[in-house]
Symmetry: C2
Subunit: 175 residues, 2 copies
Amino acid sequence: MNYNKKEAIEILERTPLSLDLFLSGLSPSWLQISEGEGTWTVSEVIEHLIEAEKYNWLPRLEHILTAGESKPFPPFDRYSHINKESERKIELSLLEFKEIRASNMAKLTAIPDLEEHFEKTGLHPEFGTVKVRELLSTWVVHDLTHIAQVVRVMAERYRMDVGPWREYLGIYKRK
Amino acid sequence: MNYNKKEAIEILERTPLSLDLFLSGLSPSWLQISEGEGTWTVSEVIEHLIEAEKYNWLPRLEHILTAGESKPFPPFDRYSHINKESERKIELSLLEFKEIRASNMAKLTAIPDLEEHFEKTGLHPEFGTVKVRELLSTWVVHDLTHIAQVVRVMAERYRMDVGPWREYLGIYKRK
């Protein structure tokens, strides 16, 4: 097991700040493209990260700590943010992400002796028994996978522009 | 053509600042892993980005503007940073990256009427004729591809830790 709470929090704390610095103030063209129908824009990725802060990671952790495997997690709708009616400026989304992540980090840090609960198990609605430490490490990798998605979506804008260099750019081979 | 100098500079300016915020102060475990033999650590990616600032983008642009296709670019060794003997703290690498990128942005902005040279061509040592606007858009996508690499390498650390969630995390499918 490589998971380590202190090292995990290093990433979780930095993600919203780094995305804010990278995305705030960008021209709309970078934020409105997607990888085609049914795929997300950069703005939609940020909304998804906010939804996961609200309904996924910490609620599921608390669910395991209080209910164990006695009942499954409430399902997390990975597309819930798509159904939101209003679009808002990405700076507002990034602000909300920063605030809710900071609040969740404070709550996570305040759980006494979290390390002692790492092997506790809960019931995932789709794939059954999962451990606290699996949930906690997935929280981190979920950040990393969506950062990779953000830059991959943005790269779409220049897919044709780069000409013969396209063959050298790994980001165009990973869709 | 989607390439636009102003929009491109938005990304090029943000990359070193965002990477600095994301990577500075991290525990060594995040910076020392790679994806296996012959692949790069996060620190090596930053060194490669610095080398490209020194020997690739702006020198090649200046080469096209002065020599056209009369002689090919000097080759850029994509592995030159690997041969450097001394390892240094990533904070120092990130500082150098920020400084040389800022300096290169000032030089790029100072080129008069760059837009009028977009269709000018140079000779790439491997794949022949390339245009100024292809070089300039590749500079941007090169940032994006290496940001994606940085988070993908870091995710390796928790590949086993995430347990059954592994199947849901796209970052583990793109190697």
